[in-house]
């Protein structure tokens, strides 16, 4: 009996060896004493659990959790649409899977010295900011003094981006460096600057601190994956093999508020698969930047302020589809269609939106190890499609072969 109680306790605490756990579980089927011991051990452990210092959860956590109860949007019509049917027939996985790092340049080779200095400064400010918004920070516990002091002591991120984007960064002058600069300034940075501005003001919530934490973490990784000399020590870690699960993206996007400059949107999820998406931090950073580009293109065009972000695996074999979907007017959809097809008007108002899509295209060339965009487009590896009153943007990423379950970063 004592042995059984010990086993039940160890099982409850998760320290019973795997083989013994399986035997114990089998015992639970028809052994009343084993069941009784387990119930007793669980109640003992639960009581200890109640000794934790009471802390309250924010309202936004409840909102996020209750979203589970809302019916998931039906993505089947999109998955059965012509472009995705075409993708099913054309998609094939390359032998050597791309694991990121291809869009990286050396910051000191950027010709514009002011750009170099400003990017370095932004990176260092974000390194200082990160621990101030982490889950164990004073700000996460409701004390904003250190965070406010830091934010007031540096130029605002939004002003910095505006200033750096005043003049186009010339591809002729900067070569591939232009893409790295734009990826660093236009993917997660606009949302990051929105939340840091809001936290620096008077009207903010605990959810904003959490959002800024995720944005900071992503932005730093995107910058390291864009410039190999900005933080070489941390880049070494980012380049190591380590699976990143779709759960990391779902946690971040689920119920989130997203901002692209002055446009804000509420994100909805519901179809994220469970399992790894990328194999290295540098790959995750590139994937993440692409997801931000999708969100930035779609959120300002949503008719109702909401948009969906989804990761669907195996709807196309061996492929992970990143999909963004929003209700849009015909006019807004046509605008997206022009951006995706590279049709530029004389107006400069959509200039940054064209760059967002070009960032995805460049990344797709690397991911599919291809040299021509037209063939990738023809294969529907990325694109824009309208169904009823909704616009869908997507890109296809090669799945990891023989991947096992979810993994942590």
């Amino acid at each position: 009996m004592e042995t059984l109680k010990q086993k039940a306790l160890d099982y409850t605490l998760g320290i019973l060896p795997k083989d013994e756990s399986l035997l114990f579980e089998a015992m639970l089927e028809d052994n009343d004493e084993a069941r009784h011991s387990l119930t007793e051990a669980q109640e003992d452990c639960a009581r200890i659990g109640l000794s934790a210092q009471p802390k309250s959860l924010g309202k936004e956590v409840k909102q996020r959790i209750l979203e589970n109860c809302q019916p998931s949007l039906n993505f089947d019509p999109f998955l059965e649409s012509k472009p995705i049917q075409n993708l099913r027939t054309t998609f094939s996985r390359t032998t050597d899977r791309y694991t990121g790092g291809g869009g990286c340049v050396t910051l000191r080779n950027i010709n514009d010295a002011r750009l170099q200095d400003e990017i370095n400064r932004l990176y260092n400010d974000l390194i200082t900011l990160s621990p101030l918004v982490a889950g164990d920070s004073d700000a996460a516990a409701g004390d904003m003094a250190s965070l406010h002091s830091m934010l007031k002591g540096i130029p605002s991120f939004s002003q910095s981006i505006d200033s750096l984007l005043t003049n186009p960064i010339s591809k002729d002058k900067e070569g591939d460096g232009a893409q790295s600069v734009y990826r660093s300034l236009l993917s997660s940075m606009p949302s990051l600057s929105f939340f840091s501005d809001r936290l620096n003001g008077k009207s903010y919530s605990m959810g904003d601190v959490r959002r800024l934490f995720y944005l900071c973490r992503d932005q730093l990784k995107i910058m390291r994956a864009s410039f190999d000399d900005i933080d070489p020590n941390r880049l070494v870690e980012d380049e190591k093999l380590r699976l990143h699960s779709a759960g990391l993206l779902q946690t971040k996007w689920w119920g989130a508020e997203h901002a692209y400059f002055s446009a804000q949107g509420k994100v909805r999820c519901g179809h994220f698969f469970d399992g790894p998406v990328t194999e290295r931090c540098v790959e995750f950073a590139e994937y993440d930047a692409n997801m931000y580009c999708l969100a930035n293109l779609l959120s300002p065009r949503s008719s109702n302020g909401e948009f969906h972000m989804e990761l669907i695996k195996d709807a196309v074999p061996n492929c992970i589809l990143a999909i963004a979907r929003a209700e849009t007017t015909k006019g807004r959809h046509d605008e997206l269609d022009q951006i995706v097809n590279g049709i530029k008007s004389k107006s400069t108002s959509l200039q940054n939106d064209h760059i967002l899509w070009e960032l995805i295209e460049e990344s797709m060339l690397r991911a599919h190890q291809h040299s021509t965009l037209s063939e990738l487009k023809k294969a529907s590896l990325f694109g824009c499609h309208r169904l009823e009153n909704s616009s869908y943007l997507w890109f296809a990423w090669p799945a990891i072969e023989n991947s096992q379950g979810g993994a942590v970063a």
Binding site: E2, K5, Q6, L9, D10, T12, L13, G14, I15, L28, R35, L38, T39, E40, A41, Q42, E43, D44, C45, A46, R47, I48, G49, L50, S51, A52, Q53, P54, K55, S56, L57, V61, K62, R64, I65, L66, N68, C69, I127, S130, P131, A134, G135, D136, A140, A141, R210, F213, Y214, R217, L220, N233, R234, E237, G247, T251, W254, V408
Partner: protein, 185 residues
């Protein structure tokens, strides 16, 4: 705190979103407090709670009344998922990974989960029960419950035999059970 009965699970299993909300209102705070105590990180603790509620809604059969009381199962699941994250973070630190957040985070090994309890009547009750335990039993329960160390690791850390660790754990928990038997769950 709401007393969670098994019938709330039955309602959730049948797709009753009000029951799901009721469970959240009554019990998420206790689950979050436990997770935060173990992890010391608000965002990670929120993620643990978010994941558990998502599983509960989508796969309610993850629980079965055969597994004991619903409330106990929820707290044990919260504790085990939090410990998994804690261990994963510790492994990363042990490997010398240089994530900017991990780097700035002090090792929480010295943080005493049980001794920080002071607030409600229930917690005072718990605190008293803990402080009445012989220190050698209390230490082992803290290392096991809040730090997720297995008995071999505890034996090595405290320089004790495995048998001593096992018997002290069991004796400590039995004493706690006797002192806390009036505490509702």
């Amino acid at each position: 705190m709401l007393k969670i009965e098994n019938d709330i699970w039955e309602k959730i299993r049948d797709g009753d979103s009000l029951a799901f909300e009721q469970l959240y209102d009554g019990f998420a705070g206790a689950m979050f407090s436990l997770s935060l105590e173990i992890l010391g990180d608000r965002w990670e603790a929120e993620e643990v709670i978010q994941d558990i509620f998502a599983v509960l809604w989508r796969k309610p059969e993850a629980y079965s009344p055969k597994k004991g009381k619903f409330s106990s199962w929820l707290l044990v699941l919260t504790r085990n998922r939090s410990i998994d994250r804690y261990r994963s973070r510790k492994r990363r630190l042990d490997r010398g990974e240089t994530d900017e957040i991990l780097q700035s985070r002090p090792d929480q090994a010295n943080k005493d989960g049980a001794e920080k309890a002071t607030a409600s009547d229930e917690r005072e009750h718990l605190n008293r029960a803990f402080s009445n335990l012989p220190p050698e039993q209390r230490k082992i329960i803290e290392l096991s419950y809040f730090k997720g160390m297995n008995q071999q690791e505890i034996a090595e850390k405290l320089n004790l035999s495995l048998g001593t660790v096992k018997s002290r754990t069991r004796l400590g928990i039995e004493k706690l059970r006797n002192s806390l038997s009036t505490l509702r769950l």
